[in-house]
């Protein structure tokens, strides 16, 4: 991974990001500087049918920044990779769309998020979803496996976005689609502030 020109140390950033999202997994009700949970899913415009009736643990650690399904709904039978799947809310929304003939692989680097996602899969009885430990920059998925890659609020946390997008391209089949939500800043962040780890972790 080419990290020599990054404004922050990639390992420290990963470790800070893990700490932050460990908290979001274990203490979703604590104050975070971003919205979380069912309130957030509604705020971002997710359909009520996906949000209203899911058990609280399934949605309480949701920390997305937009609705990755807003521009295109998934189709039955599609194979999906959810990069930075957190506690799994988007992976389950994907699973409901692709149905029993489809399959969803969620990938995350934070063990507490993975544990919670796996418990949540059991809770909602999602048999077509699995969660794997890994990095966005090194996805544990075979070349060309996915019809669609989704992601929500994750690429902005990656110190090497070029590596993450290259990896996403690798796991997509030819003609496959990347649909994701993320944050972007309209005002340039000054170089000094770019080294503030806080600005990256959320």
């Amino acid at each position: 991974m080419a990290t020599s020109e990054l404004p922050v140390d990639a390992d420290s950033l990963r470790s800070e990001v893990r700490d932050k999202y460990r908290d979001v997994a274990l203490e979703p009700g604590a104050e975070h500087h971003f919205h979380t949970g069912r309130f957030l899913a509604r705020h971002l415009g997710y359909p009520a049918a996906w949000v209203d009736d899911v058990p609280e643990p399934v949605v309480e650690s949701f920390a997305g920044v937009g609705d990755p399904f807003a521009m295109r709904r998934l189709e039955p039978g599609e194979r999906i990779v959810d990069v930075g799947s957190g506690a799994g809310f988007d992976s389950f929304c994907a699973a409901w769309q692709v149905g029993d003939d489809g399959h969803v692989v969620g990938v995350d680097m934070t063990p507490e998020m993975l544990d919670k996602a796996r418990r949540n899969a059991a809770l909602v009885g999602a048999d077509n979803v699995e969660f794997r430990e890994g990095f966005a920059e090194q996805l544990p998925v075979a070349d060309g496996w996915a019809d669609v890659v989704i992601s929500n609020g994750v690429i902005n946390l990656c110190p090497d976005k070029h590596a993450a997008f290259t990896e996403i391209r690798r796991v997509l089949r030819p003609g496959g689609v990347l649909q994701f939500a993320d944050i972007a800043n309209g005002t340039p962040v000054p170089p000094g502030a770019l080294r503030e780890i806080d600005l990256w972790t959320g």
Partner: protein
Amino acid sequence: MLEEVGFVDVSYGNRIDTFAGAPGEEKARAYDVHGYTFMARKPD
């Protein structure tokens, strides 16, 4: 960057006021940070 790594048909959706009312809203406003949705395709 998406085109740089070989994606085509890159498009983006509506701007979303992701941080409205959140504790981090002030910092988000300072740098005009919003949520966006994006779509792109790997060529056939």
